[in-house]
């Protein structure tokens, strides 16, 4: 009986990752992903110690991280462990590119995330105070944000060099904004799109104003009198818009679909503009 038991114990341990030399376990963990490594810490003490090693987290940090950090305006604390630097960069975006952009890591994968500040966007008429104002807000990570007063055509464009993004990665682009006054945003949908090298890849239609913040009715002047008018629902507006703007069976527009804004944890709204996938940037000089 005693003999049988010791045999069993021996067998249950013979197959164990913890018997591998430490650097082998670390090497294996380095081929998984950040979320896997965080989870595997819970398996046993030996895996927990392998899971915090620098050799593992070095593989999850972007290879050009040092040059990104070197240009950062944000003070970054010194972390003895690479894992702690990783976690910090997931939760505290750093300002780069003279404060025009912010940089962070996506915690599940360690992929690079960029956020273009309003100063880094192409906003026609943004230097005319009648149309746009530059203000600072405590709830923004950037020193300045653009406040829209009034425009006749809302046209916002942003570009980023593909080479700074993580290769072999599916990216989504978002517009992040807040409403003070919703006037003008409930009458018609907007077209949003993303593209690579000027080639449009994804086009969607969006109502930037969340449906719950939409007024039921609005007022307009008819023959010198204010009249209250019921607002058509978003689906009705969409149908109307499609009839006006889509030529019969325009295939590219048929593919576009309606994107609804979401409330972020930080209180801002975001709307997804589209997705794109980047292979290795070998072809670009």
């Amino acid at each position: 009986m005693g003999n049988e038991r010791s045999k069993k114990v021996k067998k249950s341990n013979c197959n164990c990752l913890s018997l591998l030399p430490g650097d082998c376990a670390e090497k294996i963990l380095g081929f998984t992903s950040p979320v896997d490594v965080c989870r595997f810490s819970l398996v046993s003490k030996s895996l927990q110690s392998a899971a915090v090693s620098d050799s593992v987290w070095e593989k999850f940090l972007p290879s050009d991280l040092q040059s990104i950090i070197a240009t950062s305006l944000s003070p970054i604390p010194h972390f003895p462990l690479k894992k702690d630097l990783y976690v910090y960069l997931c939760h505290y975006p750093i300002l780069i590119d003279a404060g025009l952009k912010s940089f962070s890591l996506e915690k599940w994968t360690g992929k690079k995330c960029y956020f273009l500040g309003a100063r880094d966007l192409n906003l026609p008429w943004s230097d005319v105070a009648q149309y746009w104002n530059w203000i600072s807000r405590p709830d923004s990570r950037f020193p300045e944000v653009a406040k829209l007063n009034q425009v006749w055509v809302l046209d916002i464009q942003g570009t980023i060099r593909a080479g700074v993004l993580s290769p072999q990665t599916s990216y989504s682009a978002y517009l992040v904004y807040k409403f003070e006054d919703v006037y003008g945003f409930y009458h018609r949908p907007l077209v949003v799109s993303v593209g690579v090298s000027g080639f449009q890849l994804d086009q969607r239609i969006t109502f930037m104003l969340p449906v719950e913040r939409r007024p039921q009715q609005y007022y307009h002047i008819e023959d010198g009198n204010w009249e209250s008018v019921y607002l058509p629902s978003y689906p009705q507006q969409l149908l109307h818009w499609q009839r006006r703007h889509m030529q019969g069976n325009d295939a590219s527009l048929m593919q576009s679909f309606v994107q609804h804004p979401k409330l972020r944890d930080d209180g801002w709204l975001e709307v997804e503009l589209g997705e794109f996938f980047l292979l290795e940037m070998k072809m670009i000089a």
Binding site: I28, G30, R39, V43
Partner: protein, 159 residues
């Protein structure tokens, strides 16, 4: 030819072109320390046969690219790592000891692919690991990254 001896006293003859994929043996040959049999006290014959099979297949890696045998090599690699955990870990330890970079990468990648997305319970069962963490330690690890323990992609199966 270079002679290798496993820890169960079996001798194997391997072509020098194959065996120098091991950094360790390459250094020994360069230093003139490989004149007779090289004893490998950490590797049993079963594992050594696997390693030699890999080395022989991967002679002149550059040649494979020229002759378009890359697919063949890829298929061999896929078949090669098709083994149980115990055997895989034995090969990893041998590759680590002999310092065979490509073999190490191949086997660690295979181990990682099997573990990806697995639940904690599944990893413990697959690798027969007994949990030696206290409840407090466990809670601390979960609190550190609660997001790593939830989500539909976590796979609780053990194969």
């Amino acid at each position: 030819m270079v002679k290798l001896k496993s820890n169960d006293d079996k001798e194997f003859e391997v072509e020098e072109a194959a065996v120098i994929q091991s950094e360790m043996i390459k250094n020994m040959i360069e230093d003139g320390c490989a004149t007779s049999v090289i004893p490998l006290p950490n590797i049993d014959s079963k594992t050594l046969i696997k390693v030699i099979e890999y080395l022989n297949k991967h002679i002149n890696m550059g040649k494979a690219a020229e002759t378009g045998e890359e697919d063949d090599l890829k298929e061999f690699d896929e078949q090669f790592v098709n083994m149980g955990w115990e055997e895989l870990f034995d090969v990893i330890m041998a590759a680590n000891y002999l310092n065979i970079h490509e073999l190490m990468e191949l086997c660690c990648q295979s181990a990682a692919d099997r573990l990806k997305n697995k639940s904690v319970r599944a990893v413990r069962e697959m690798l027969k690991i007994t949990n030696d963490l206290t409840e407090e330690e466990e809670q601390e690890i979960i609190n550190d990254a609660p997001w790593a323990f939830e989500g539909p992609e976590i796979d609780d199966t053990v194969n």
